[in-house]
């Protein structure tokens, strides 16, 4: 029997719900990007919003990522709360000047005169056969930039609650979605829910090993944890949800309990965000660690097209199972 307080919806519906609720709540929220209006987004995340809120507030843009991101910065300086969609996170390379040089720093550089409440939404990730220029996981680029917040939810409920918080936040937020995850379903409260930025969530409690993961890989981690449970390995799965600011305390608390830390993410392992978590835990909970942290990420290659190669490069459930199993043993 389904919980009447919950609705089982897709990740895309969760995104749309958040934007819709916030656009109804605050007339200063505007949305623009390539194909987000009439078409509803190439992944359907914004279907119906232009019809509901009109062409002034929901705008199709030309293929001009520098302009999309730059217009967001300008509109924010003038008091609006723009949501700018960059169709693929790979194209954030185009938009990065506005995000990294302008949005992230304008407040600081001007001694706090301005606020820049902007959400840069962008889908990343592979698994859909789009090859090297449409599949990257680039969260580490943006967590490295002071002035930005970075959110990478893995479940629809977190996507909805955190996107609402991101839209209400007074700072620029890079909100990373996963293109192969928009159809993933999960329970989302029927009532309004705003999830605070910077708070991790223990998705599964366990005693033997702490497994930290986010975005689509989080769902792989949860699956892996069930498999490992049947083998007698009790995995605690932590979803930081927000990467910047990072709730390291929740991770440290877990590691102090389990003594073991595994980080699994889809991004290239070298210089990936897992390294930051491993380093912070090593610095702050060295005494609690029974062995060195383990990172599970992609090898240092661009993402290949052909399915066997793509699957090989992106960490899968079985990779996490095998990695944790060997690590714990």
């Amino acid at each position: 029997m389904a919980d009447p307080r919950m609705r089982n919806i897709t990740f895309a519906q969760a995104i749309r719900t958040a934007i819709r609720e916030e656009m109804k709540r605050d007339a200063r929220v505007i949305l623009f990007g390539e194909d987000v209006g009439y078409y509803g987004g190439v992944y359907g995340a914004t279907v119906g919003l232009q019809k509901e809120f009109g062409e002034d507030r929901v705008r199709d843009t030309p293929i001009s990522e520098m302009a999309i991101a730059g217009v967001a910065v300008g509109a924010a300086l003038a008091g609006y709360r723009p949501i700018a969609e960059i169709m693929y996170c790979d194209f954030l390379a185009h938009a990065s000047d506005a995000i990294v040089n302008n949005a992230a720093k304008w407040r600081y550089m001007t001694g706090g005169q301005f606020t820049l409440p902007i959400v840069f939404r962008s889908p990343g990730g592979g698994g859909a056969g789009y090859a090297a220029q449409h599949s990257q996981s680039l969260e580490a680029w943006f967590t490295h930039i002071p002035g930005l917040k970075v959110i990478a939810p893995g479940l629809p409920r977190d996507a909805r609650g955190l996107l609402k918080a991101a839209i209400r936040d007074e700072n620029p937020v890079v909100f990373l979605e996963h293109k192969a995850h928009y159809g993933f379903k999960g329970d989302v409260p029927a009532e309004e829910e705003v999830i605070p930025i910077g708070v991790a969530d223990v998705k599964r409690e366990g005693q033997d090993v702490t497994l930290v993961s986010w975005s689509k890989t989080l769902t792989f981690a949860l699956e892996a944890a069930e498999t490992l449970a049947r083998e007698g390995i009790d995995v605690e799965v932590i979803d930081p949800r927000t990467l910047q600011p990072l709730d390291i305390d929740t991770i440290l608390g877990s590691v102090r309990k389990t003594g073991r830390l595994v980080i699994a993410h889809e991004a290239v392992q070298f210089g990936g965000f897992g390294a930051e978590i491993a380093a912070q835990v090593a610095e702050q909970a060295w005494d609690a660690l029974k062995r060195p942290p383990l990172r599970i990420g992609a090898p240092f290659v661009p993402l290949p097209y052909s399915e066997p190669m793509e699957r090989f490069v992106i960490p899968q459930v079985e990779d996490i199972v095998a990695g944790v199993r060997a690590y714990v043993r």
């Binding site: 507030r57 843009t61 910065v73 300008g74 300086l77 003038a78 000047d97 001007t110 706090g112 005169q113």
Partner: protein, 326 residues
Amino acid sequence: MAAKNREQLLHFYEDMLRIRFFEEKIRDVLLPQKLFRGSSHLAIGQEAVAVGAIHALRPDDTVISTHRGHSHALAKGMDPPTVFAEIMGRRTGCCRGKGGSMHLADESLHFMGENPVVGSNAPMAAGLALAAKLDGSGRVTAAFFGEGALNTGAFHEAANLAALWSLPVLFLCENNLYAISVPLDKSSASLDLERRAEAYGIKGQRVNGMRVMEVYDAVSAAVEETRAKSVPSYLVFDTYRFEGHHTADKQTYRTHEEALEEFRKRDPIHILEFEMIDDHTVPIPTTIQYRDRIRAEIDQAFEEALAEPWPEPDDALSGVYAEGGE
């Protein structure tokens, strides 16, 4: 020049002198005494563009500038002491010492800041204009940039979008002939700079940027149209920077004689002075009085700023994020 313009001309004259003396102080005092860090991009020679254009705007119209933006900041009304203090890295500077010469801003004056990444302010200007259009505030946004920015993709993306969305924005190009060391004819395939946005339906205009009244008249007409019809305007001002790209520029790419000759022939302040004196709008003693008064004002502004306190080192850690979010 009609007598009825006397007050206005003197206002322009005063603002141009303020910018000139302010920047000469940087060149002649701050630089040799090492009172600022990095480099400072002087607009000496370009004052007529900043003053003529900004006087054609309403006080609540927004302005966004570039690395060469002291002129725009001062013309928009920023106080010399707070700007000096910022350039000298003092806690009381307009940006609390966090921005410096290239990041001057004053929200209360709708001077939204300098953006020293060339071309990067054009999309921001479109965004400011979009906000004004959605508000129905009747505000326009003016974006200043050098001719070097015309070769960036950001400018073209912004121009297309501004035309497509009918945004009330003025793209104001200060053509000072050099992008650091590279002269215009070696960086631009076409010298018809005023045609750069023609394909987007934005009719450009070429203006003598050394005559402040011509700048003022041209921008006034453009502002009127931009405000009334909510459409972008684009103007190119031919000007010249008499100093280097920045204070550390050795200027090996042009001769000293060239800059001197330009200064003799085209200094916008001399041009204005001579015209005012020639047609008896203003007698010579008045120009001298103005010069003395503004110079004294700048001297005092500098002394005031010099006495301002340094920030605490760990002030660096604050102000990265805005509080709150509800």
